[in-house]
């Protein structure tokens, strides 16, 4: 019980302290509303606009999630391809690493020109930023199969196909998950950037609109919505990870 209290109580206390500090700061220094509204005002705005926030948030959530899904569906097979073929690996792995350090956000305006201001461009940007961590982590997992597992496969005369499906792929699963954790967070950022650059829907767009109307509490309320989406999606991946835990044991390796 005390352990539970600490694990759940302390984070709540942390948030509460932060809100209190925020409130006191605004009140004591008399910060103008346009610069920083009181937490209470943001809360009021959340309550007043919840319908709008949910509608716009739903769009951003879908853009992020589908962008991530697309990255996963295309990224895992690509990782399999480059980690099973020496030629493909030599051809694409350096390129992949190089692209990973490229600020992909810089491509967003171009993507907007290609795909328009609809959901397609947001999907594409979310996909683009989520793609690389999934490919790189999955490929890392696939080429770091414990040597003993491979010895086991050899000793029972498993062929390449069997070794892949029964050893290499399951052994790489924890890596796929850790890549997905990074990817899903990036996908939300990607979708919002897409909305910032050109869109007429989504929470990112709502923030811009609220700003232009100097409805600062609404802009902050939209920010809270974005945080909720980010945390929610991340939590979903963590749930998958927890569900797979018995699969891999504590250390993931015996």
């Amino acid at each position: 019980m005390p352990d539970r209290l600490i694990r759940f109580g302390l984070p709540v206390l942390g948030v509460a302290l932060l809100l209190l500090a925020w409130h006191l700061y605004v009140v004591v220094f008399d910060v103008p509303l346009v610069v920083l509204p009181r937490p209470g005002l943001v809360w009021d705005s959340l309550l007043k606009n919840w319908r709008l926030l949910v509608e716009e948030g739903w769009i951003t959530l879908l853009e992020s999630f589908y962008g991530f899904l697309l990255a996963f569906v295309l990224g895992v097979p690509l990782a399999v391809a480059i980690s099973s073929s020496r030629v493909l690996n030599l051809m694409f792995y350096p390129l992949l690493i190089a692209t990973q350090s490229l600020p992909k956000v810089a491509l967003a305006p171009l993507i907007l020109i290609w795909l328009g201001i609809g959901i397609e461009s947001k999907l594409a940007i979310a996909w683009l930023v989520a793609f690389f961590p999934i490919v790189v982590d999955t490929a890392t997992g696939l080429r770091n199969t414990p040597a003993e597992y491979l010895d086991l496969a050899t000793s029972v005369r498993a062929n390449g196909w069997q070794t892949f499906w029964k050893i290499r792929l399951p052994a790489a699963l924890p890596f796929v998950i850790s890549g997905s954790k990074v990817a899903i967070t990036l996908a939300v950022i990607g979708a919002v950037i897409g909305e910032f650059i050109g869109s007429n829907q989504g929470l990112g767009n709502l923030m811009l609109v609220a700003n232009s109307q100097v409805n600062v509490p609404l802009a902050y309320a939209a920010l809270v919505g974005l945080a909720a989406i980010g945390i929610g999606l991340y939590a979903a991946v963590v749930l998958v990870e927890v569900a797979l835990k018995p699969w891999f044991g504590e250390a993931g390796h015996t």
């Binding site: 069997q162 891999f248 993931g252 015996t254």
Partner: protein
């Protein structure tokens, strides 16, 4: 060459089960400027059908290397291993290998770990499952078939690994310090279990260890290895009757064998 040996074998009847013929292994230098590692220096031995041989030697003397060569997991630099008339050039269907670590696949249940070789061989049928369960019962893990490896103790994991090696009914069982990480008590239990299994299955066993007592207790013959590069410096036929009982460890004959093995290893003085 293989057919010649086979013919030779047939002509001489049931002679040797396996032959290690001047097996040597040198690993290439790890880095530029480093020396290549001579792990094994010409090991020869004739393995008899149903025999249990212990390979005893200090750490790094090439025991694992020799076992892996016999298993077809590593190629010898020179010399060769012939088992049942066929030169070993890769893993054989009727070999069972028990690794130094249990090496279970954590995402599989205990039963599915045991069935892994059968699955790979495409023989994962009712009979295989029945045999796997029988083996798990034999090692006292019948109730853990559905558990996952991380729920087992070290000794239990190693017993599962033993079942996995035994499930195809191997004619040759290769074991690499399988009990090395276990506590003394569990270890002694496992040794008796191994001797029991070997008696009922009649399988030939090559058993690597660096425990003198373990080598002597289990084996028909103990091969004592020198420090690296590994060579056989003594061959000790134990001539102790089976089935062996734990009391055997406290007999004069047993301690004398231990002393001789210890002398070979240089830990006690001969004479």
């Amino acid at each position: 060459m293989i057919s010649a040996l086979a013919a030779d074998d047939a002509a001489s009847g049931a002679r040797a089960f396996g032959v290690f013929d001047q097996v040597a292994k040198t690993f290439p230098a790890a880095a530029r400027g480093a020396e290549p590692v001579v792990a094994l220096e010409s090991v020869s031995y004739e393995l008899k059908q149903g025999e249990l041989v212990s390979l005893l030697g200090p750490s790094g003397c090439g025991k694992t290397t020799l076992l892996r060569i016999a298993a077809g997991l590593t190629r010898a630099s020179s010399g060769h291993v012939v088992i049942r008339g066929r030169e070993v050039q890769g893993p054989q269907e009727d070999f069972g290998f028990v690794f130094q670590s249990p090496n279970l696949l954590p995402w599989r249940t205990v039963l599915n770990n045991v069935l892994f070789p059968m699955e790979i061989a495409g023989r994962n049928d009712e009979r295989a499952r029945a045999r796997a369960m029988e083996l798990l019962d034999l090692v006292g893990l019948g109730g853990f078939a559905k558990s996952r490896p991380h729920q087992l103790s070290g000794g239990m994991k190693q017993r599962v690994a033993l079942c996995r090696a035994l499930v195809p009914g191997p004619s040759l069982l290769l074991m690499d310090e399988p009990f090395g990480a276990l506590d003394e008590l569990t270890r002694m239990e496992m040794q008796d279990l191994l001797l029991h299994i070997r008696r009922v299955s009649g399988t030939t066993v090559v058993f690597v260890t660096h425990s003198i007592a373990e080598a002597v207790y289990l084996a028909d013959e103990v091969l004592v290895f020198s420090r690296r590069p590994g060579r056989v410096i003594d061959r000790i036929r134990t001539d102790l009757a089976y089935p062996r009982k734990p009391e055997l460890r406290y007999t004069a004959a047993f301690t004398e064998l231990e002393r001789r093995a210890g002398a070979g290893l240089g830990v006690v003085h001969a004479g």
